[in-house]
């Protein structure tokens, strides 16, 4: 497994419909992967380098929960419901973990340059990855190779192929789109209907004024960092049924780069931007994968083009597509 572009096994070859389906399922995955990072980055201006590692932990944890719960006799619908049990469990665990990280490690350095927050979360990557490696090795697994035991827990109707307007696609693609839609809706409601959502929107517009209005920004930071970490975990659980991914330690870096691309293209402080950028990146990835399979003999093509899109967008629009402010200075 290499990089961002994992060939959909059996990418539908009927071009427009097939590419659209592939693009939408990829976009859903990418949006879910990036949404937690986007929330944290939007409110706090902290580029959380550990986001990918949290996704990796979520994939292992979610997979372990599913493998533990599902037996040969478990029914198809029950498996689908248990997936959401795994999502809830992983979200709860990682939200608590994220909040703990914020309180103990990140809170002491808010008054320093943003550089130090990047550096600190970067240190977390080393620790989390190595800790995961220890646990995985203790479990008799090889950390570099994907652990795909959890794929077996997916209900059969997701693995089956369905014909849509002449293209054939796995049920999994639709499931991923559905979960992506659910996550986007949930975050949208969180942002527009809850107190912390209001804080986030206000904080990314004008942090100083928000603080001046007497909002407890500290607690908002803790909550948002926790929720962001929880969402990273949810993304991991979503990946474990996808044969293109599977849990492995390098999954952390892989998803981190995707999340960066999406969040930076979308622009700081804009969840709408993240969704649009996710769709754009999904479409570009699907198109390039299709080009690679049919015409251009260069295996790294989709990954290469995604980074080129990042570079081009940043040069053309330094704040990203929907960015509100340029963060950080330096």
């Amino acid at each position: 497994m290499t990089g961002l572009s994992l060939l959909a096994d059996g990418l539908p070859l009927f071009a427009p419909i097939g590419i659209t389906l592939d693009a939408l399922s990829k976009a859903a995955l990418y949006i879910v992967i990036a949404s937690g990072l986007s929330l944290i980055f939007g409110l706090m201006g902290v580029l959380n380098f550990a986001h990918g590692s949290l996704t990796m932990l979520g994939a292992y944890l979610g997979g372990a929960v599913m493998v533990g719960l599902v037996s040969a006799g478990t029914g198809q619908i029950a498996r689908l419901l248990l997936f959401f049990v795994a999502v809830a469990a992983v979200f709860a665990i990682l939200t608590g973990f994220g909040a703990a990280i914020e309180v103990t490690l990140i809170r002491p350095i808010y008054d320093r340059e943003p550089l130090f927050q990047i550096l600190l979360t970067f240190g977390l990557v080393l620790v989390l990855d190595e800790a995961a490696r220890i646990v995985v090795e203790l479990g008799g697994l090889r950390p570099q190779t994907e652990w795909q035991a959890a794929i077996g827990t997916a209900p059969d109707f997701l693995a089956n192929r369905y014909d849509i307007l002449g293209a054939s696609a796995r049920g999994l693609l639709f499931f991923e789109m559905l979960v992506g839609l659910l996550v986007v809706t949930a975050i949208f409601l969180f942002l527009t209907r809850t107190r912390y959502g209001l804080y986030i929107r206000a904080g990314s517009e004008d942090p100083e004024m928000t603080q001046a209005l007497g909002i407890d920004v500290r607690r908002a930071f803790t909550v948002v960092f926790g929720v962001g970490a929880g969402l990273a975990g949810v993304a991991g659980v979503l990946l474990m049924w996808d044969p293109r991914f599977g849990a492995s330690v390098p999954l952390g870096v892989e998803t981190l780069l995707i999340a960066f691309i999406v969040v930076i293209i979308g622009g700081l402080g804009s969840f709408k931007g993240t969704v649009v950028a996710g769709l754009l990146v999904g479409l570009v990835d699907a198109l390039m994968t299709w080009l690679f399979i049919n015409y251009i003999d260069f295996p790294g093509l989709p990954e290469l083009v995604l980074f080129l899109v990042l570079v081009v967008v940043l040069i053309a629009r330094p704040k990203g597509l929907f960015g509100i402010a340029e963060v950080g200075g330096h």
Binding site: L105, I118, L119, L126, E130, L304, L310, V311, H330
Partner: protein, 381 residues
């Protein structure tokens, strides 16, 4: 522990000479990273690209794949060539990237580096299987020295190279590793002095001014863009030299140990632990890094092996339930350097933000070279 020899203990803790060669060239890479990021404040998250360009240039030149450069051309020519290519690419990348600041600058440099990473991993011109990189075979080791004077050419290499018995009649023997150490060291030292010179020139003062307050530097009349671009290019040049030394010593390169994000991470770690914005600190930072890695390595001189040999059987098998001391050593000590380095790194970010050398300078009230003689003087009286 009664039977433990001091020598065996030192063996565990002191780095080998061949480790020191790595410290030198990776330390130079870390210094080049610190040169631009530590002094101008712009975090270059794609610095591994320039290291990789230098490394691949030498590897391709050594296998006769650079047009106009024969495979048996002097290594110093390849080294300069690789560094110049890295310089040009750095200027091109910088010209685009310096339109951005802060996190966005870090991301766009990371973007460029990942483009080159993906490219080199799939470019079949490099070799039949570009993912595995390229090895320079079928020629003698690369030689560092002054081109044209055979007596001043020293072949280096991880496994082979020149060795000298009874140097100049002093009775000293230099093995192949020692020759590599001094030869690589000479280039690194020269590069360090060059960078140091630039930092203490008016140009370097402007770099620091940009870090401290770019708006003001602009207001005073400096075109900060050209200074940033210049610093980035120079930094790329020295990163290219470091990469070229890497290939010259190891005679093989692979995408994972040149263009990878984690190679940039090594420089970042070294610069932060040694002291951000203290050029020499990066070298000490990487020395510290290799020191920890050496102690925790799985090799025969690692701490794990030492403990297993030194501790009596009764201690090794003691423990609660399934977890014995022996198992603890196997799981948490043997080859776990990254875990502890990560923890140390976080501790440095939290508690010693100025790094080893920066903290030392704060304590002394100036650079070590300036203040140490005074301090020593005080104790002499």
């Amino acid at each position: 522990m009664g039977g433990v020899q001091i020598g065996a203990l030192l063996d565990v803790f002191l780095p080998r000479t061949r480790t020191m060669v790595v410290v030198l060239y990776v330390g130079l890479f870390a210094m080049s990273f610190d040169f631009v990021s530590g002094y101008t404040g712009y975090l270059s998250f794609g610095h591994a690209m320039f290291y990789g360009i230098g490394a691949y240039f030498v590897a391709l030149a050594g296998t006769g794949k650079i047009p106009g450069l024969a495979p048996d051309a002097p290594f110093m020519l390849m080294l300069i060539g690789g560094a110049l290519v890295a310089f040009l690419i750095a200027v091109a990348v910088g010209a685009v990237s310096f339109r951005l600041t802060g996190v966005y600058f870090a991301m766009v440099t990371l973007g460029f580096a990942e483009v080159s990473h993906v490219f080199i991993r799939n470019w079949d011109y490099v070799g039949s299987n570009p993912r595995d990189g390229v090895g320079v075979v079928g020629r003698e080791g690369f030689a560092i020295g002054i081109p044209g004077i055979d007596a001043l050419q020293f072949r280096l290499g991880r496994l082979t190279g020149d060795s000298f018995d009874n140097v100049l009649g002093t009775g000293l023997d230099l093995g192949t590793v020692e020759v590599s150490y001094y030869a690589v060291g000479a280039v690194v030292l020269l590069s360090y002095f060059a960078m140091q010179r630039i930092i203490h020139s008016p140009f370097g003062r402007v770099m620091v001014a940009i870090r401290e307050n770019e708006e003001r530097a602009k207001a005073v009349g400096y075109n900060t863009f050209w200074y940033k671009l210049g610093a980035f290019g120079i930094s790329g040049f020295f990163a290219g030299i470091a990469g070229a030394l890497f290939t010259g010593y190891r005679r093989s390169v692979a995408p994972e140990n040149t263009f990878d994000l984690f190679v940039t991470a090594d420089a970042l770690l070294a610069a932060i632990i040694g002291g951000f914005g203290t050029l020499a600190g990066a070298l000490y930072g990487h020395l510290f890094h290799e020191f920890v890695r050496g102690i925790l390595s799985t090799e025969s001189h690692g701490l794990a092996r030492f403990l297993r040999d030194a501790l009596p059987e009764s201690v090794l098998t003691a423990g609660a339930g399934d977890l014995t001391v022996l198992q603890f050593i196997n799981v948490f000590v043997d080859g776990r350097a990254e875990l502890y380095l990560g923890l140390i790194f976080i501790a440095f970010v939290l508690f010693v933000p100025r790094g080893i050398l920066g903290a030392l300078r704060d304590r002394l009230g100036g650079t070590v070279a300036e203040k140490l003689p005074e301090r020593l003087d005080r104790y002499r009286r």
